[in-house]
Symmetry: D3
Subunit: 244 residues, 6 copies
């Protein structure tokens, strides 16, 4: 069955993606990333101390962590403010753990000596793919912050190993498609998030078939789409960082 | 002692204020309000049911409530995410109660029959005056939402009684000044938030002299500045709503 | 329209106010304050250390903070115990922040060197004006505690700058009235809390017109009543402290 | 070894006990009970509905429950406010469960048809024996509330089966003593709380030897003292209720 | 009225009790205790540091504490997981305080120098008497852990003073019975938990007559049954520890 | 580099796996699954009602959900009890969401009409692979519960679509290995959890390279191992269910 996408987007085409750097005034690095109608503010804040557990266990180097949130007005039906409810929901916790874990693959923590970088990803408009947009955007915010730390002399050499990008892929009506928006995501049979490095290695893959299953050949089709999508995202990241 | 302000701003001059309407995709009404370097996303979400206590007590009409938050990266030193900490801080609670209470003076709740409007004010950049910017912006978001409810036929007549605007005033080095930025606010002797109606009445005034006091004549000077400031804000609100 | 008050109280007359000193056995200073039917236990407990943030930021001097609570049986309909519910309600947080902020204007924190004073205001009977009664009573408890600290040699000179008193004023049926009880407060158009110093300066004013507005001339009428009310409260405070 | 008690109190002598009825304005029944320096406000509030679990399981009759709290300023060293900490401590939970369980033995729940009685025991001054004072006082508050419910016609017949009283006993320096104050309690080898009915039956006994043990003959000595103590408390309860 | 028990158990007969030692891989001491159909995993974990309050108050020796939990699937109707609900229920708190308090009577805390022992009692199958089974089992786990600490040279002499065992007794249809299962417990008039030492002294007794009362002679009958029950449990403990 | 495994296990060999059915007394289905030294109690409890959100949105069918926990004594260093801490940790939330999501692929929710199945996975001994063992075990518990529901006539036809099994694979010292124990897992470069159906389709794959990356060919090697591992687990499941 042929899949028709909004605006005649091809099945292997990512949405229009834009990254505005230095979007916020206070954090050392920040961007606004737009992926189609999804918009996320990603920032990298720097603190010159490491978490309690590192000091206690005498672990050398620095740390990188992430938090994720959605504005109550970012979703179609108003999303209950988590600060009011008294805790972060399960989905939020799962996503912010993924972002932090992924981004730690982008840096050599040993070179972050004595420094903690907090990545905050706050969704202001949600239309699918917010966790992937968060990772792609946070990676740019991280690089902007590291550049400033190098200029300020707070880091001697760059801890950045490589850039990361993330994209979602899925199977909808039996067809593998790239970069699902909310409407596609909520009706797809399979949803997979693929996080890759510039050199084409995997950092994390998470494939879920809520109430369904997928075959090895479908997995391969999705991985191929993911590779294509992240390659395009790396071009956008590069072009933005060169302008900066 | 003469007070020198950033950019040679006069003591009775408000900061450059800009309101971008329909900033978000999902809520019925939304704006991005910029007051100098302070930026707040204000939205009005609509739900066609009233709170439990109204149903239980059989109160007629509708309801309007507000929530306030700051992005962790909106402040100079990263602000601990309240959802992670498990509760809203005291300052947050105090501010969102003020916003809700104030905006309820702008509407005739009886005409909001069966409808609850949630105003979300989320600060993305903080440089002083966030609660006043939230009120001034939320009032526009509210009016945009009401216009749509009227068009959709969900409201028969407008519940809006009048527009509101809010501005902070203070005493710094003995001089009354209008619309304090963060640096001014943190060193002022007195800080007062003034919320007024277009017709020049007060909705709420909150004057605080943390560790200090103020005289009746200083109070009058501040009220006069507040009146001038809100008059200018009403012009900006009107011009934006006419363009819409 | 003429306003008739319970017991033929005049519109500019405060309720019968009584302050019983040393009401509790353990804290250094304590009172039971009765304002009409409202009764609040106010205490000042002393700890010879300062909060973590002062030590961390190396701030000199001492600190003063306040907490407020209502017994579940202090209100007409039983008030849900906040300890059971797992958090303090928004109104409670707002009130205790006000009490602490106000009372810090009564002391020179630098002279409280190394000492934290905790003011606890626990309402045992509520009939309107509990936050004002708390401030007026806590100020006496504070002075009793300071006297003992001076006698014990733990303070070299008194940190008390001046006494404070607080009273509520409002507009009911268009008439400004002084010191509203619960029934008056719940039907008034405007409610204002005025906190003043013995020398007639303002420490904080909070005027709220839930769903209404008020004019500048009404504000002046209310301020005048507030001044009269606090002057009478200062006489009662003085007379009690002289007896002590 | 002979035990010397404050004020030459005998080893089988209870402290001076006083019960002031109708201490609070709002709840249907209330007392202030003083046992030596311990003071507790006990109240009985009435709600004309039963808990969710009773409605769900279709259990007939009514319910009686209890909550216990200590004012932060009731103890020698200030007691952290449980509402601020976000939960009731283990000791508080244990005590309020005991109070509720005990008082349910005083009433025939079937006759409380459709009614829930909440007993609030709030300690304003703590000097040992607060849980026993709470039970003895709450039982009077309960009887006052029931009398009013009978007068109001909300109950057809009294659900009160019998009055209860509670007293602590202990072993100090090998000697069994009655009604321990805080100083005695904190140095005793064994501490036992005895709750009895007017007719001399036990409702609950809790004997604890924190880090010690006690023999059967010591147990008998303590039970004997407990019986003597509660008999005297019943006389005080009776005399107060007759005056009422 | 004669009481008939499942499997023709006599009124003074304990259920079949079995203790499997070293049930878990990680903690220093552990058992699975089975008392009829009740099964509890008890473990003793060792940490070479003492609680904050001991360090702060400079208390010598070590500490022993306990926690209790029930698997959601251990009860007839699924028991809501307390970690999900956000807090331990009142019954859980009450029980774990009892276990810790009791077990502290089994050890000389001064000899536990610098060591904290955590006893975890996790019920996997509940059929009445879980708190007593927890205490009887935890006492064995404690002794196993202490033996290893002695072998490891971390303790110079054994802190164990004596073994403890606990059993429930009750009055059902007017007859005193020993070691109640769930069905008996939920219909008994009186329920008493008796914790004893090998030498026949009491550590704690808790007798409760939810909605009923009991006489002194019934108390004596129950104490006698409790003594018989714990004597049998001590034999089982001894035999197990000798095999170990 | 050659990888040497404990007990000379081959790189493509799963640990000794054993499933004991009907391990608990109360839930409709339950097992104890042992995978090497890892032991998890899995149970399936049945409630004849569906969650609030299904009733509200009028969704037909039933629901299946999962919760995961670890006994404090299940890990090498004692694991802080989550019920005491007041919330489930991020890792726990992530795992229980995975278990629930996966198992929903094993059933046709429409056929579970009006029924909610809660799967509880409680780890009593942790030595790596607890989430995979939970899924493999929970799937058996689920099937046992469904068999009973069919026998009881509460389900007309089986909602089971297929059995699931899960196994972890990883890259250690550059070599792909199957079914990692804790020591292997904590030093592996890549860790992947693979959840498959009996028919060889994927339900979920989660591959993580904490601080590392992996290539497409490594991914293929891991998928191959995962397929081999789950095939063996399906044989064990089948054999157990046939015996039952």
């Amino acid at each position: 069955m042929a899949v028709t996408r909004i605006g005649n987007r091809k099945i292997d085409e990512i949405r229009k993606t834009e990254i505005i750097t230095n979007f916020l005034r206070h954090p050392l690095g920040s961007v606004l990333i737009k992926v189609g109608n999804t918009r996320v503010i990603c920032s990298a804040s720097v603190e010159e101390r490491v978490p309690h557990w590192m000091r206690k266990q005498n672990v050398k180097g620095g740390w990188l962590t992430a938090e994720y949130g959605m504005l109550p007005s970012s979703t179609n039906e108003r999303f209950r403010r988590e600060a009011t409810g008294g805790k972060q929901g399960g989905r939020t916790v799962e996503i912010q753990r993924l972002i932090g874990r992924a981004l730690r693959a982008a840096v050599d923590l040993k070179k972050l000596d004595g420094i903690t970088i907090s990545l905050d990803c706050d969704v202001i408009d949600a239309d699918g793919g917010t966790r992937c947009a968060s990772i792609t955007g946070a990676c740019v915010a991280l690089q902007l912050a590291v550049e400033k730390l190098l200029k300020q002399g707070k880091l001697k050499s760059s801890p950045i190993i490589q850039s990361l990008a993330a994209v979602s892929v899925g199977i909808k009506d039996g067809t593998p498609i790239l970069d699902l928006n909310y409407e596609e995501d909520s009706t797809a049979e399979v949803d997979m998030n693929i996080i890759m490095t510039e050199s084409g290695e995997f950092v994390e893959i998470q494939g879920t078939a809520e109430g369904n299953t997928f075959s090895e050949s479908q997995l391969h089709d999705m991985l191929k789409l993911g590779r294509k999508g992240t390659e395009e995202l790396f071009k956008i990241q590069k072009s933005i960082l060169n302008q900066n």
